[in-house]
Symmetry: D2
Subunit: 135 residues, 4 copies
């Protein structure tokens, strides 16, 4: 159960809300951006897929917020991926840097919609297969 990809980022002040901490919705942005960068390096452009009628969409997610990120914080978003039935399941954890304090644990279940229909996407599966966590 090791991470197959990670992306370093830094909090941007506009992501903080009136509590002075990163607004929760931005963790979805961070995890989405990490997935898309992961896909890119695996040879898959989210935007190109959309233009060819293939949309990867989030069906379900769970997030546990541990410690909030603040202005100036650097962090890393690490991910693992599993295939379960039609779902691509991403486990994405965020750690503050450099102290590695856990900030977020999340599970994001995604599915493929091909020309408007929920379905398998063999092309995507072939490219991601090397990264899948085995049971």
């Amino acid at each position: 159960m090791k991470y197959v990809y990670e992306l370093k980022m830094k909090v941007r002040d506009y992501e903080c809300d009136l509590q002075g901490i990163v607004n929760n919705a931005n963790y979805q942005h961070y995890t989405e951006h990490t997935r898309h960068e992961f896909l890119l390096q695996a040879g898959i452009s989210f935007a190109d897929m959309h233009n060819r009628g293939i949309d990867a969409v989030v069906a379900r997610l769970k997030m546990a917020f541990k410690v909030p990120l603040k202005s100036g914080d650097e962090f890393v978003c690490r991910m693992r991926i599993k295939k379960e039935g039609v779902r691509f399941v991403f486990y994405q954890d965020i750690f503050r840097l450099p102290d590695e304090t856990m900030v977020l644990r999340s599970q994001i279940d995604t599915v493929c919609v091909v020309n408007g229909q929920l379905g398998e996407c063999p092309e995507l599966e072939a490219l991601l297969e090397p990264y899948f966590e085995k049971a």
Copy 2:
């Protein structure tokens, strides 16, 4: 198990992403705004609480995305609330209008942080008690 509050909204085009549907992170915005408006009508300002050292924060959430909202869609976010230990648990569902198609089911667990410490907030509890769902 009936809803104790609802807020009607309309999709704003900047909330849609390159797939032409509302980006998932915005559902956190919609549910947060609904909770804050609910608190306001119950006599509680999220901003005032923060200024007095009381922060309601999200500890954990689960979301199931059913049907995406699109440009021009109107919708309603309905909520129920329960107290479980130190947690205020919000069940928030979004329905597209006027056809009442379910868009989102979510559960958002919040806790109070008082002067930096996780704790009970009797003031908040007294004001919200009339809305709590009984077991």
Copy 3:
């Protein structure tokens, strides 16, 4: 020089940043949403236009920020519109409610891109002509 359209909104707490005031970028969101709602009631859907290869895009903008909006504030965004050469020029002002304090003055110059080329869009012009401010 009278306004031809106005839209009432309310600040959402996630729009406020660590200064406790609405982050400036949200004023672009407010003015964009107001333009799109104006277009809708004039019979024009921004999303439909895009799907038919016609994109209205902002070429240039000027904003003067007078008084910041805060958590809980209600406001109205009012607009006038003028045609100048190929540009549709929107004058959009925001006032806090109910005291009508001026929050923002802005001028937003938009142009039409038809199938990737800057150009005239007679369809849009015909629908908007009744709203144009005369010299």
Copy 4:
């Protein structure tokens, strides 16, 4: 008239809207983040300043949008700075990488609000003085 600071970034897909290009409001985010990173390396934390009662706020801005950024694009935001009366004037230009196509030209006028009053901030001025463009 040379740039005194630059920050490289990459488009995140959630920043793109239904036109498939970066939504205009995000250019305010990009320029704000660049200013705050510039301030940080000059020894000034925007969040710390706020906590000590000093807020740098945008009074006025002008933006000219040349070529839109798209999914996958990398870019650099370069800035110059001038002092004019009480205003700190930032000239911020964005270029797509690696081809250096101009994406945005902007001028952002900021002022200091000290304990709620528009005013001079000698501390900020001393730290930024080495970067000021001379007339």
